[in-house]
């Protein structure tokens, strides 16, 4: 028991110390631009958790903004992963197709996805489809690239033994090609999740009428710095939440593998 406490403390003390130092310094400085952590925490509760009890205290802003941010992120990212895996697997199975699309995929991977926002607005206008389009189109490339590479790199002997035990085409994909490429596919999906979160916030900061990014911007215009920070914290929390969920899925999906994860 004592050992566990010592261990936890050895990991946590620096974070705690930094928060404490920030608290003291910022209180002493006492500027409305740099609220101490305690005031940000207050603003966080005020902005997001001041609603009625039957909604678990979620505020109207929480329902409207966090809800729409997470909805866009989930839909856009799911699109990116599903379409990306299908396209990547198709390209990875044929050398010619891989050659045909390699420059396009490379260009896609290298394009800073945020610059898609002006294009998306030109193309779709400012509405709910715009962020979803940006998230899906911007984060699909790492999935395609890694799925393609992973499938192309599936061990020849694995494929041979799949045929040797008489697996049909569909079963070969289901039981051999996809599981063999899975670690690479997940590596791509993880990179693309990071991009998707950034794009969610960026597209809301750039132009929108709802979402956590919109709330950050709104509080910035109102010069309510604590609430602006509360928005930043919420955006980070959404990113961490999705990453944690992904981590859980990854651990489950790769259970039993000799080398887990990337």
């Amino acid at each position: 028991m004592r050992r566990i406490i010592v261990r936890v403390v050895s990991y946590v003390w620096l974070v705690a110390a930094l928060v404490l130092v920030a608290e003291v310094l910022l209180r002493w400085r006492d500027s409305s631009f740099t609220p101490p952590p305690s005031r940000v925490a207050g603003a966080f509760l005020d902005l997001w958790w001041s609603g009625p009890a039957h909604r678990l205290f979620a505020s109207d802003e929480f329902v409207a903004d966090v809800g729409s941010s997470m909805f866009r992120l989930a839909i856009g990212y799911a699109l990116a992963v599903v379409v990306g895996v299908v396209v990547g697997v198709a390209l990875g199975r044929s050398r010619r197709l891989e050659w045909l699309f390699a420059p396009i995929v490379r260009l896609g991977v290298a394009t800073p996805a945020v610059v898609l926002i002006p294009i998306a607005i030109v193309l779709l206008g400012i509405n709910d489809r715009m962020p979803i389009f940006v998230i899906a189109f911007g984060s699909i490339w790492p999935v395609i690239f890694n799925a393609m590479d992973g499938v192309a790199g599936v061990d020849r002997l694995s494929l041979n033994s799949a045929r040797a035990i008489g697996l049909r085409r569909v079963d070969r994909y289901r039981f051999v090609v996809l599981p063999a490429a899975l670690p690479r596919i997940l590596t791509g999906a993880r990179v693309s999740l990071g991009i998707a979160v950034v794009l969610m916030v960026s597209s809301e900061l750039y132009a929108s009428t709802s979402g956590v990014g919109y709330q950050i911007l709104l509080q910035q215009y109102r010069f309510d710095t604590p609430k602006m920070f509360a928005g930043v914290v919420m955006a980070c929390a959404i990113g961490i939440l999705f990453n944690a969920l992904f981590g859980l899925y990854e651990r489950w999906a790769l259970r039993g593998r000799p080398t887990v994860g990337r």
């Binding site: 033994s161 040797a164 035990i165 008489g166 051999v176 599981p179 063999a180 039993g256 593998r257």
Partner: protein, 263 residues
């Protein structure tokens, strides 16, 4: 010599030829190989390294498309991919088993996809584990958690689950230690006898070939052709020590050795 080409044979290979094209240059790997395995026969193929043994096996199994010739199992020409009658055991067990599946699912996979019920797959897996001498406790383990010899036993069990009549084995024991190899050889003989299989066994080890087989087919250095068929008329109850002490064993061994080395 038995009469090649009769359709009573389990496996017949006629005029099998394989040509590779690399960098625009044609390269002949296998040239007009004829061989056959009778039903219930144990045949080994030996040849010097680089004699294209694995290529030959891949062509026979249908994993590679031959450039010429024909392969028939029980009179039926094989098409694209291995026929239902045959199963293959590869040398590299660590790659031929699927690392993302447990032992149970690895063995059961070929049967599962035929639409067999969960229970019948499970009981088949159980009896196979016993047949290949693995404890039931390995069922939930992943291949990498087992020793090399145990992994190869799993691979053999997987090959057997759909009750193939012909077993193709590609240097299956080349990468296990000597003791494990001995027990795996005897396991192979037991499976062959008790389950009445026909076996085509590829190896570079002459002792192994003579010890296991009814007949040894000697390949020449590439391009592969059949150099000789050597009948092994040792009594069938073979024993790792006694059989290898017999004068006939020594004689056959040097005969095959001469054929392999004397290019």
């Amino acid at each position: 010599m038995s009469d090649a080409g009769t359709d009573s044979a389990a496996l017949v290979v006629e005029g099998l030829t394989k040509t590779y094209t690399t960098n625009g240059v044609d390269h002949l790997a296998i040239e007009k190989v004829d061989l056959h395995v009778d039903a219930g026969e144990f045949v080994s193929i030996v040849g010097p390294s680089g004699s294209g043994k694995t290529t030959l096996l891949n062509c026979i199994s249908g994993l590679l498309r031959p450039s010429g010739g024909q392969v028939r199992t029980f009179g039926t020409p094989i098409g694209d991919g291995p026929s239902e009658d045959m199963a293959i055991v590869f040398q590299d067990y660590s790659r031929s088993l699927f690392p993302w599946l447990t032992v149970e699912r690895n063995i059961g996979l070929p049967m599962r996809r035929t639409g067999a019920s969960r229970a019948s797959v499970a009981s088949a897996v159980d009896s196979l584990l016993e047949a290949v001498g693995l404890p039931r406790s390995v069922i939930g383990k992943y291949p990498w958690q087992l020793s090399g010899g145990m992994q190869q036993r799993v691979a053999i069990a997987r090959a057997l689950i759909n009750k193939p009549k012909i077993l193709l084995m590609d240097e299956p024991f080349a990468s296990v230690d000597a003791q494990t190899r001995i027990s795996l050889e005897d396991l192979t003989l037991r499976v062959w006898r008790e389950w009445n299989k026909s076996v085509l066994f590829i190896t570079h080890d002459i002792d192994e070939a003579v010890y296991l087989s009814d007949r040894v087919v000697v390949l020449s250095k590439g391009p592969s052709t059949v150099k000789a068929n050597v009948d092994v008329e040792l009594p069938r109850d073979r024993d790792q020590i006694l059989t290898k002490q017999e004068p006939l064993f020594g004689k056959l061994r040097s005969e095959v050795m001469d054929l392999v080395m004397g290019q």
